[in-house]
Subunit: 299 residues, 2 copies
């Protein structure tokens, strides 16, 4: 059982992401009092911006909860952030002189899992801008994929966008098959051929992920190139799911921006074993803050 901290404390759940940071505040009983959004909070894309977004989201959530700004110092925070599985990033963020009573740091995957299953064990595959898998079961704590753009994250939005750009550029040189992606990409980017290169050169993975819906659209219309991309991505996600299921987690959920459309492309045996997520990652971050606080109180 989670032992409650003194009632002077509140819990703050932080779900950091590449495009925004979500914050939720709950009281000692777990009741959510307020929530808010702030800017990007992916430390892989910038630590300074991440810390600013976390503090900003926390202040806004306090305001949304009708609590005074001074309450900031009484928040027990749980934060799930991408990239903190990298030791160097974990250290940098742990060293932050944060304004909270406590800051418990974990990966975006851990809070996604806690949110989706409302318990410590289970497995999740996140397919949004990036993709990765995570399982905690019977003493196992295992991560799959999540290696990032442009060398990993098959089946993710950014990967689909990158494959779409590759196919369109090959076709524009008549060195690859025709595809309706040429027209849909041209419409979205307002660019063709070399102008696509000017438009995408040096751009972050989120810009590539914007093209993913075009791949789904084209595949659903029977475009062979888009079908190849989507089937290859789905094959990777299905293989990842089987690896995670081998650890016999109580539940497996597919979450993230691509999840809904991708689900129908997964192998049937995999799709049948998916469970709907019980809650969002920010709920998992709140649960993580409560758990860690209870551990600290009993220690």
């Amino acid at each position: 059982m989670v032992s409650a901290p003194t009632n002077e404390h509140y819990f703050l759940g932080i779900d950091g992401g590449g495009s925004k940071c979500k914050a939720s505040i709950a009281d000692a009983s777990g009741r959510v009092l307020g929530s808010a959004l702030a800017g990007p909070a992916n430390p892989l894309h910038g630590v300074e911006q991440t810390l600013q977004s976390i503090e900003s989201a926390a202040r806004r959530a306090l305001s949304d909860a009708g609590l005074p700004t001074e309450t900031l110092g009484r928040l027990v925070a749980g934060a799930g952030l991408a990239g903190v599985n990298l030791p160097s990033l974990y250290r940098v963020i742990s060293d932050w002189p944060h304004p909270f009573a406590a800051l418990h740091l974990t990966t975006d995957l851990r809070i996604a899992l806690l949110g989706a299953h409302q318990q410590d064990e289970g497995a999740v595959i996140v397919t949004g801008t990036g993709s990765c898998g995570y399982v905690r079961a019977a003493g196992v704590d295992h991560l799959l994929g999540g290696h990032g753009f442009p060398y990993g994250d098959q089946g993710s939005g950014a990967w689909m966008g990158l494959e779409a750009i590759k196919a369109v550029l090959l076709a524009s040189d008549d060195l690859g098959p025709e595809t309706q992606l040429i027209e849909s990409v041209a419409e979205l980017l307002q660019a063709r051929g070399l102008a696509i290169v000017e438009r995408m050169s040096g751009k972050p993975s989120s810009d590539y992920a914007r093209l993913a819906p075009l791949v789904f659209d084209a595949a659903e219309a029977g475009d062979p190139v888009a079908l190849d991309i989507l089937r290859s991505g789905a094959r990777y996600i299905s293989a990842m799911a089987r690896k995670l299921l081998a650890y016999q987690p109580p539940r497996l959920s597919l979450i993230g921006g691509m999840a809904e459309r991708l689900e129908t492309w997964l192998d049937r045996d995999v799709a049948e074993q998916l469970s709907r997520p019980l809650g969002p990652p920010e709920a998992g971050a709140l649960l993580f803050a409560r758990q860690q606080s209870a551990l600290a109180n009993t220690a």
Copy 2:
């Protein structure tokens, strides 16, 4: 015939590249008087650095030729630079208040072609850090590939390195086949699994190209994953060569850092139609400067 400018002028040939800038100085008769190297000069990676490198290489080449610094204002320069086929970059560099008597700007491919064939017509495939094809023949001026990292340039060093990293990361999750690249990449990068991600995240294409020799080594040792990568890259370069040959250029050369090792992997019909390059790109830049100067004098 090229009409000679007044003998007060000298010619400067500039071959800009991602890792260094090569400069050669020749007199009105075409005799090379001196040459020098300076830092990176790829405008796609930084215009300011490129302009500095060009001026620095020119000053050093003057010194190497035993000519006084003031001669800078009497140099008729021809420069071949990557990326100036993009209108935005062409404009930025054309607007540079350069210190030369004249600056004639063209692509790295055009000077590679002029250098390799010592004439206006012909075709080249450059496979170094990136890859691209270029043909000028019978009124045709056509570019293939060269779209850049990470969405193009199949068969290039950076592409091979990227494919190697992808394969190693897949294998490290047991979601892809075993490959000896795991060990050779670990040795070169002093990193495995997630540490590879830390090592490569956000790195320029030249860092990926460093891994290309490992792909050749592994493929030559029969590693199936490396064989797949190399065969796929060679297939693309062979297809590109056939497209270029369709324009019936007088000669086709394969040049750049990957050329020698890649040649044996090309389809036989393509390999048999390759000609050795007659000169390097900086010789092509000098030739370009002379040609453009002659045009200006006759105009």
